[in-house]
Symmetry: C2
Subunit: 252 residues, 2 copies
Amino acid sequence: MSEAFETADMRLMATEPSVSSRLLEMAEPTNEVDRIYSEIFDAVIDHRLLPGVKLTEAVLCDVFRCSRGTVRAALARLAHDKIVELLPNRGAFVATPDLKETRDVFEARRMVEGAILDKLLTLPDLSLRLLPLRQMVDEERAAFRRKDRVTWIRLSNAFHVQLAKLADNEVLTDLMRSLASRTSLIIALYDVPGRSACSFDEHERILASLDAHDRAGVLDAMNHHLQDCERRLRFDDDDTQADLRAVFNLKR
Amino acid sequence: MSEAFETADMRLMATEPSVSSRLLEMAEPTNEVDRIYSEIFDAVIDHRLLPGVKLTEAVLCDVFRCSRGTVRAALARLAHDKIVELLPNRGAFVATPDLKETRDVFEARRMVEGAILDKLLTLPDLSLRLLPLRQMVDEERAAFRRKDRVTWIRLSNAFHVQLAKLADNEVLTDLMRSLASRTSLIIALYDVPGRSACSFDEHERILASLDAHDRAGVLDAMNHHLQDCERRLRFDDDDTQADLRAVFNLKR
DNA sequence: TCAACACAAATTGTTAACAATTTTTGTACT
DNA sequence: AGTACAAAAATTGTTAACAATTTGTGTTGA
């Protein structure tokens, strides 16, 4: 479904040689397949690869200088965390989450991030541990001001993952990573680019309430942040077919 | 680590031709690789394949009548959800979660399952939807009485997954599946087989409190259930090397 | 008796080639 | 014109073979 997107030039994935792009991903890229996996993963959550784009194996082989077996394994893993869709005999596409999935992801985030905040409030030296997070928010704001959209998106996601990391629970961290990446896909699909209500302010409020040990305040801030994010989305049209028609001013 | 386990005869994985074994797994086994994946997955959480067992590619090819590429992809996915460990140039082993991972998994379960129960309490027609769960608990008890350990373990896990399914959120369901499978591995490693304190009673109490809309009661029942489960574990020795010595009555 | 070394067997990592399927293109027919 | 059918191109699914690494075994020497 939705092959309306053109098979974008994937050469751009090789750009941006992962300077600080290693904020949101997993362990060490020890294997070849891990490298490919991370590379594609980052490209998707950074919105350098948009939902619906076809990921042809041969092209990926060419881009990453590896054999098809390698990209195949990487694609399988990406499919397993719902970042790409794998259609039998048809190939791999960047996933296009629908309305139901969006609801599920955001509901899960409210549950999980609420629980995480609850635990953080019990931690000693919380203020101290919050410092790197504050710096991260500053970088967010800076990236937004200089209109560095990719960095901004990346940091917005990383904020939540770093927050989860403070809870010192690898299961929750991995989960948050997964939820953040899926959220990024959702935003790429349904967010109206005009009014992106500066998430860094909301992030800052979360940190402030957290620092003040204001339980009700933190939970409220997080819930509002997530609800705002979800409310910004627009699910107007059926699918991307409509976009194509709109481009050429055709009646439906 | 822990090659102390013998390379168990994996032929037994082909037995038990998945009659009702499809309780805990995912979508349709459309692909060949999905089939292998599910087969190994089920074998591990059913304790037919124990932690530490080496999963040699060639043997798996022989068992499942497929090529190495297929089992390779399946193993990669299993590694991705921490069911097997993939050591470079050494091969695949059934994972052996450690103490830290155990703590993380159980903590995550308390958080997530608590949130799930909270949502279930808001659902209409809750009593009606609970009926299949009651039946499942009955089957649990029956399996326990007739000493059908595999079915009992399977149903114990399936109970929690089915509970998550009631929340009508695929993200949470997948998460619960993952947590349950990892818990099964943990139990295989550290649970003392003697005193398995009949989880079906605790499951029943959860259902009863849920049916009565007793919020505090449900949360308490679930927390106790999980805590009991975690407390039953014994992390005496360093690793399985010790087991080997114990078997042959050797001083350390 | 034990350690170090070298060789052989087994296993994994990688690549290439072939078969099966789908998608596209071209042509004929109504 | 537009539809239906057929061949061709492109892409995926699968298998086999080769290279690299590790593991096990046996020998030598102190």
